[in-house]
């Protein structure tokens, strides 16, 4: 009965209801939008960092991560690769054999990180081909290297020059060979530019006298949020005595820490936004009550109990809040996807700065549905809490005064 009255009340003054609903609606929308942008920035940061080199998930021989050297590599097998590729959410699997090696022209030598790669697959994860600034990218079967531009510059090397790679191979064997430089890659990080030397994985295995051995399988997964799940899945399928599975959070704890610290700051921003939208809802609700003072006065005067009235009002508010939140969430979904597909552009000036880091100067929003649910629930609870005060005013209404006003 009271329920019906509340429902009817809502539609008696549609405009008022819509306005109140709108304030809830906008609150949800704003909160979702802000969170989506925040998380989108992190997504992008992680994606950029992960795509720089590591990939989202890696499999190594157990113990490799703590002691990264050639004897701690594992023997590649088609079954292993198959297991990884069959894993749901895994998009690309690429083999790597890496080892610190000295590169030398004879008189001039430096340290480098030699990485044996599968050129085509590697490109799918780290977009290495796109980083070529001079010469050409590697192809399978090449007996050639691609080096960082910084390395080439420091050693005064040009395309086609040969470079000696020298280091310790499998089981302490002395490994060396010389390769022509086929291409040069440029990373945003000067560190990587000065350090990286790529060659096809088969050649690297031959060089290090470690046929069929790999230091890692790097994997790209569909999103950063599933990487933990992929690790769990793989850990259950692979022999834990032989292999270790790690995702970016484990491999790059500092990035994770940075994001967490930034997120803490983001929470303060969110808190401020909540105050603001909370007050918007509060204002609208308060005005709604004060506007209906006369009406309430009359109802009390004709014998309706205040508690009944409060119940009606609460029902009305719940309706409004739920509908506003639902509407906000529904509208937020396409908005999230729209700004994900058409990211906010930071303009040309920023583009230049970012370009040198191989980052696009855009902020795509996150499409994580949990943001919508979290924010919708949060705003709903907040709305209902805010309503307490206006409703409490109801109990202070004196019918005579109210009707006179």
């Amino acid at each position: 009965m009271l329920f019906k009255i509340a429902w009817r009340n809502l539609w008696r003054n549609k405009r008022r209801t819509f306005i109140t609903m709108a304030s809830v609606f906008f609150a949800v929308l704003m909160a979702i939008f802000l969170r989506s942008i925040q998380e989108g920035v992190y997504d992008q940061m992680i994606d950029n960092s992960v795509r720089y080199y590591r990939g989202y998930v890696q499999v190594h021989q157990n113990g490799y991560w703590d002691e990264q050297f050639i004897d701690n590599t594992f023997e590649d097998s088609p079954e292993l690769q198959q297991t990884l590729e069959n894993e749901k959410e895994v998009r690309v699997v690429t083999p790597r054999l890496e080892s610190p090696m000295m590169v030398s022209t004879g008189s001039n030598s430096r340290f480098s990180l030699m990485v044996g790669i599968d050129p085509a697959k590697e490109d799918q994860i780290t977009r290495l081909k796109g980083r070529i600034v001079e010469g050409e990218y590697l192809e399978e079967g090449d007996k050639a290297i691609v080096v960082g531009v910084g390395l080439a510059e420091k050693m005064k090397l040009a395309l086609g020059d040969t470079l000696i790679l020298l280091g310790q191979g499998y089981h302490g064997q002395q490994s060396y060979d010389q390769y022509p430089i086929k291409g040069m890659v440029k990373f945003g990080s000067p560190e990587l530019n000065k350090r990286m030397v790529y060659l096809p994985v088969k050649e690297a295995q031959y060089l290090l006298a470690s046929p069929d051995r790999l230091s890692a399988y790097a994997m790209d997964v569909s999103s950063r949020r599933v990487s933990g799940k992929v690790v769990e899945q793989l850990e259950s399928k692979l022999d834990s005595g032989t292999y270790e599975v790690m995702d970016w959070q484990e491999m790059d704890a500092e990035l994770l820490k940075f994001i967490e610290s930034d997120r803490a700051g983001g929470m303060v921003t969110m808190f401020i936004l909540y105050i603001l939208i909370g007050f918007g809802i509060f204002g609208t609700a308060l005005m709604m009550i004060s506007e209906r003072k006369y009406e309430f006065g009359v109802q009390i005067a004709i014998g309706m109990k205040k508690i009944q009235l409060a119940y009606i009002l609460i029902m009305e508010m719940v309706f409004i809040a739920v509908m506003g939140v639902l509407a906000g969430a529904i509208v937020a979904i396409p908005l999230q996807y729209f700004f994900h597909a058409n990211p906010i552009d930071l303009g040309k000036d920023m583009a230049k700065v970012y370009e040198s880091f191989n980052i696009e100067a855009i902020i795509p929003t996150s499409t994580d549905p949990s943001i919508i649910i979290d924010q919708a629930v949060f705003v709903l609870i907040m709305t209902l809490l805010i309503m307490i005060y206006p409703i409490s005013k109801l109990f202070r209404i004196k019918p005579i005064e109210a009707m006179r006003g």
Binding site: D161, F279, G283, E291
Partner: protein, 554 residues
């Protein structure tokens, strides 16, 4: 007249107007404070890195590389140190001698740790990077000139070499007596040295990698132990308003240096007797094999080396049929770095004295200089200053040294802008809603006004005026509120330690909000614009009311 009506209207319903004014004040407060908070967070993060690691401006030899400092010393280091110190813009500066080396200990995995040895001026270093404040155990270079010099090592390194252990309750126990040596210390002449050192103190850094890598030692102690003179690799300086001004200051330093250098170059070039450099530079080192030579004009013509403008430094040349000790003929590869006019009519190659003739391998496609052409190869002892002034000093601002910080900085300010826009949007919607409510409530009153002949333009203006006036009341309140909160929290700080802040990796969990003063104005203008824009829709709604219906409405 309309102004008066509007003003009176505002105060006729204090609740309604109060809500709007508070909303506006809150909006301004929110926008300003959010910005100040994030700005403070960003600033302190950047400042941490600048004032503990990279400083605002650094000076190096143009070929200097941190991973391999070698003999790339700063030219005229003493003069340069003084020059930087005395520059009015410099707040404080410090010089460093850098070398790669290996820290040896009997404990820990394999007992050897590749480290970067930083020979520092302890007092200056304390001012520039607050190294002394980051000492968590032991002391900070309390005595100079010890027989066994003290080093300050990072906490993580101390753990690795067993100088830091933990008892059962997790309490840290430091062992300052642990024997360590620094070996393989790269010397300028490409040989190396080893010295025994003792742990004087333990420092904490931004991340554990730095802690493992950097070992600090008094520069004078280090140079004395290595039998070196006064060479330095690096000068780091903090300057006034360094975060914002470092780029401009860098240019002025550069100009300054070039001017003072060119005069020295002129003087010294004359010193090299009649052999004046007419192009390029002199060989960089006069000790050890560098394969760098200068050639005379006749030779350069023979080799067709100088094509009006550029020496092909990317090419190497092979000299053959030449012998130093009359024993056997040697063939070796050289890099010409410059051309001198020695007044000779025969081709000649000059190389720095002391170059031993080890054969260097070939790079690229060498040009052969036959015996007939190398009729004369001279050794020249270059004055040590001469080799230095031929090069310039590389000045770098912090954004050159750590471009990633600037990117993060930029990313921050652009996302900040978006946040502020969202806050303004939220504020705008708040105002629209409240005003719409107000119009709704005032339907009767507005209908009355219109039916007694107030035209639509006037009603519109009246409502706009009301909003603008309320904005003008709310804005200063909000700003005052923001200023108060910022100055309060800016003093006490906001502790985020309850949240995951990454404090372990050196970031402070305290945030001190701060804001550039101009920002108040910017935000105020934006909020006022937002307020006015937000008022348009309700005002339009108001004039769309039909007087007759409006009056009838409850």
């Amino acid at each position: 007249m309309l102004l008066q009506i509007s003003w009176r209207n505002i105060w006729r319903n204090p609740l309604r107007s109060g809500l709007i004014i508070v909303a506006i004040a809150l909006g301004i407060w929110a926008a300003v404070f959010t910005f100040a908070f994030s700005f403070g967070m960003m600033e302190s993060r950047t400042r941490d890195i600048l004032e503990t690691q990279i400083s605002h401006v650094q000076f190096h030899h143009p070929e200097f590389e941190r991973e391999d400092p070698g003999s790339n010393f700063l030219p005229l280091s003493q003069e340069l140190i003084e020059k930087v110190e005395n520059d009015p813009a410099t707040l404080t500066s410090t010089a460093r001698y850098l070398a790669n080396g290996i820290l040896n200990s009997t404990k820990g995995r394999k007992g050897t740790f590749p480290v970067q040895i930083l020979g520092i001026q302890p007092a200056n270093e304390a001012e520039v990077t607050s190294l002394d404040n980051r000492i968590i155990a032991g002391g900070y270079f309390e005595k100079e000139g010890r027989r066994v010099p003290e080093v300050v090592i990072g906490k993580s390194l101390a753990e690795e070499i067993g100088a830091l252990t933990y008892d059962e309750s997790g309490k840290e126990i430091y062992d300052f007596k642990r024997k360590i040596t620094l070996s393989n210390i790269q010397l300028p002449n490409s040989s190396s040295a080893a010295i025994r050192v003792k742990i004087g103190g333990i420092y904490k850094a931004q991340n554990s990698q730095l802690e493992k890598l950097q070992v600090f030692i008094n520069k004078d102690d280090l140079l004395r132990k290595l039998n070196l003179g006064t060479e330095v690799h690096e000068i780091a300086a903090l300057i006034q308003d360094g975060k914002t001004l470092s780029k401009e200051k860098k240019v002025s330093y550069q100009k300054d240096l070039q001017e003072s250098q060119s005069t020295v170059v002129k003087q010294l070039t004359k010193k090299i007797r009649s052999q004046s450099l007419i192009f390029g530079s002199l060989p960089s080192v006069d000790e050890g094999w560098t394969a760098e030579v200068v050639i005379n004009k006749v030779m350069s013509q023979k080799m067709q080396l100088m094509q009006d403008s550029a020496i092909r430094t990317d090419r190497t040349y092979k000299i053959s049929g030449f012998s130093l000790n009359e024993e056997d003929e040697k063939t070796f590869t050289v890099y010409p770095t410059g051309i001198i006019d020695d007044g000779d009519v025969k081709p000649a190659v000059y190389m720095p004295k002391g170059n031993m003739l080890y054969e260097a391998d070939l790079i690229g496609k060498p040009m052969r200089i036959t015996k007939a052409e190398t009729e004369k190869i001279k050794n020249i002892k270059l004055e040590s200053e001469a080799k230095m002034v031929a090069q310039t000093v590389k000045v770098e601002s912090w954004s050159d040294l750590a471009p990633e910080i600037e990117v993060i900085d930029n990313q921050f300010s652009s996302s900040m802008r978006i946040f502020v826009i969202i806050i303004l949007l939220a504020l705008g919607f708040g105002i629209v809603n409240t005003m719409l409510m107000a119009i709704l409530e005032r339907t009767r009153e507005l209908g009355m006004l219109m039916s007694i002949g107030m035209n639509k333009a006037k009603v519109f203006t009246m409502i706009m005026l009301e909003t603008v006036m309320m904005t003008f009341i709310g804005a200063p309140i909000g700003m005052a509120l923001a200023a108060l909160t910022i100055s309060y929290t800016g003093q006490t700080g906001i502790d985020l330690s309850g949240l995951e802040t990454g404090a372990e990796f050196g970031m402070s969990s305290m945030v001190y909000p701060s804001i550039p003063i101009t920002y108040y104005g910017e935000v105020a203008v934006m909020v006022i614009i937002a307020g006015i824009l937000a008022a348009i829709y309700p005002s339009l709604r108001a004039i769309r009311l039909k007087p007759a219906e409006a009056v009838r409405a409850i």
